[in-house]
Symmetry: C2
Subunit: 242 residues, 2 copies
Amino acid sequence: MNEQTLPEAAYPVDVRNRVKRRHDRGAYDHASVHAVLDAGMLAHVSYVIDGQPYCTPTIHWREGTRLYWHGSSASRMLRAQAGGVPVCVTVAMLDGLVMARTGMNHSANYRSVMCFGEAALVEGAEEKSAALLAMIDRYFPGRNATLREFSAQDIKATKVVGMEIAAASAKVRADLNHDEPEDLDNPTWAGVIPVSTVIGAPEPCPHNGPEAIRSGLDAYAPGRRLDEAMVELAHLYEGAAR
Amino acid sequence: MNEQTLPEAAYPVDVRNRVKRRHDRGAYDHASVHAVLDAGMLAHVSYVIDGQPYCTPTIHWREGTRLYWHGSSASRMLRAQAGGVPVCVTVAMLDGLVMARTGMNHSANYRSVMCFGEAALVEGAEEKSAALLAMIDRYFPGRNATLREFSAQDIKATKVVGMEIAAASAKVRADLNHDEPEDLDNPTWAGVIPVSTVIGAPEPCPHNGPEAIRSGLDAYAPGRRLDEAMVELAHLYEGAAR
């Protein structure tokens, strides 16, 4: 068990990540933060160009306390993040609509993490290639061996950004509706309507052969929750990396 | 039919929202932008405090070319956005994992919108109350009539932020995998694994009476795609507002 999996390991708290509202829902420990990062495939990366905030959605992956994302070498986001700029990476999932007996007490169940740090390009063809192979490994374990290898042009056309998580907070609501005692007689329907992201039936490429190699796809069973598959794959990846 | 539903109505394009990478996937017309905004319940709002970007997830709603979101009066995000500050509001949905025969050609299907403008607080108890009633109407049509009304304290404890969309772009990928002709013989499985967010079985509050009033819940049928329910409700709301 390495440091970042010790239950007491936590991200430092500063003005950026201190949970002010409903701090009972906030957490800074690695386990809580990583659980949300790992359950989500889609991150939102915020950065500033000339005082203007931008928020770009992208696929992310985590190694220990580092986050990575990637894109085209022509991407405005990645060019802006080349030189060590402050970013905020947020991963959030809606888990349910919470219906109460007043508008005020309506809420949502969700999991979210905000991570702060300085983003910088991964430099060097070998380092970039290793990072892109790691991304495939994290999402599709074993699949790299079945793919045509990256060409020098592939690597050149791609930028990879890494960020050490300097501060982070997780905020989670997973609860029933709460009403004031005096509102309980109100005859409206109250409760929770859960929502979840699920995996659908695969749509094979018409060029697939009859015995196409399915390495790395086992976790993506049709009908399964995507967050569960993501967490299982993150654990596999973390285990294999040690 | 009002201006914003004319097919040719579009957001102006400037340095903030011009789609640079894969501009064939980008669109600026109201219909394309609103379709993504309306299909999603969760927005990510980016803003800057002292040069540091923040990205906060929140529920949003749209009225014509204006976006709204809300939160506690104690929220750091909403205090930062009180005075007309530049923000970027992004709504994005992952629709599928696109598996190709090289790492380079892997992709994702998604829908995303980035909206730029200046956020400002909705001021005045009456205006805030109207905005919060509108939010309930947009998500749960008819439900307001079944709820205990907002108290003065409810309104005081809540901040509502509005933003006229000054610039926006939608970017969508909804496609098969694409491989180079010379890679098609590679024996790995290629294709698309779709993902979607679906509505689960409702979890009723134990205090509900046997005939709890279900106004505004019809769209949330268990097993249904959430984005479809959201779009249907947006159209109902838009129709009722005219």
